[in-house]
Symmetry: C2
Subunit: 221 residues, 2 copies
């Protein structure tokens, strides 16, 4: 019975996710779903990515968090629309929450939406939010065994950032080992090693994402 | 309807958790439920804690993981009973899984069981496994904002270890800030700053846990 309920939840979620995706397409808005463990660096990455992307794209952020608005507060200085979703203990964002958040944004005035999911390497994997790109961020401090241990979420990612590479020597972790462990689970996703606090380390990622956004906007569906 | 189902799941879980706790008490087995984000250092802590505790206590480990037996393999050298639970994508251990795992252990030959939960800072908080002590491990690399952001799991912890304190200067994080953030959410739980890879940094934690085990074993219920 519980399994049946879960299946129904996921089927309903996928339907709303599809509606969200259609709505994004209608407005040619490119949307990212950013997933990671707690503290892997989603918000820091966002802070520095916004510095780059707000120059060329009308950008908004949807912030997922259990209880607080701490991450939204960190992004205030960018002067862009930010919608906070508090899940009140819930372990992931779902498509309906995003659909609700979109009511608070002027979609006709947007090109790009970053969605920061709840910090969790398990539950967000099953919930399509309608995003165009599912971004997974792994901190090197978490260890090279994580891709195999959290295989679902690594397999479903469309691009993977390895963050905090500056800490790798101190953690005695080899970035190439992490990369090869990721490729065992997900051979297709591009991988970008970065240090989110260092703006310059984000160049390759920013350029790649810029192209992905342009490809989407210039595509016919 | 979904909320009702969740409530039923939790009520059923609590009943089985109580049965587990009664069984532990019958055999005077002290049991820890170790919870953290992915890669915060549960297994490394376990490796070094086992070196200390297996000297004085007949010890076993129950290892929770989504798919792999990687953590169990890391603990093989201790030559103690290890039971692997794979949740097949499930985001937490529950009391029934522990009850099943106990079928594979000779309880009359044990004093101490470490349970390593799935790496997740959200979902394990709601599921009582019947443990005597709920241990939360936070890595300094995750940041000082985590206690407030993941308040449920911090509030429910009975002891909290701050791990990887050797990385604090590089992460520009002040341990005292983390401690005061934890105390806002949970003023009661003892807090131990450690570096799980450094055996000597575990002295205070080992001594404290040793006393907690002895208090339990000498108590009348």
């Amino acid at each position: 019975m519980e399994i049946k309920i879960l299946k129904n939840v996921l089927i309903k979620n996928s339907a709303i996710g599809k509606d969200n995706r259609d709505l994004f397409w209608k407005h040619k808005i490119f949307t990212l779903n950013m997933i990671s463990s707690p503290g892997a660096g989603k918000t820091t990455l966002l802070e520095n990515s916004l510095a780059y992307f707000t120059k060329n794209y009308r950008t908004a952020v949807i912030e997922g968090d259990l209880y607080t608005a701490k991450d939204s507060e960190r992004l205030q200085s960018h002067n862009i629309p930010i919608v906070q979703i508090n899940t009140e203990g819930g372990c992931h964002l779902d498509a309906r929450m995003i659909s609700g958040a979109l009511q608070n944004l002027k979609l006709e005035e947007l090109d790009l939406i970053f969605i920061e999911n709840v910090g969790n390497l398990v539950c967000p994997s099953s919930f399509d939010l309608g995003e165009n790109l599912r971004v997974l961020i792994l901190s090197v401090t978490e260890g090279a065994d994580k891709p195999e241990k959290y295989a679902n979420i690594f397999a479903g990612a469309e691009v993977i950032l390895i963050n905090k590479v500056d800490l790798a020597p101190l953690c005695k972790i080899d970035i190439n080992t992490i990369i090869s462990e990721i490729k065992k689970i997900n051979p297709k996703a591009p991988i970008f090693p970065v240090t989110a606090t260092d703006y310059n380390s984000l160049n390759d990622w920013n350029n790649w994402l810029d192209k992905a956004i342009n490809n989407y906007r210039n595509a016919t569906r």
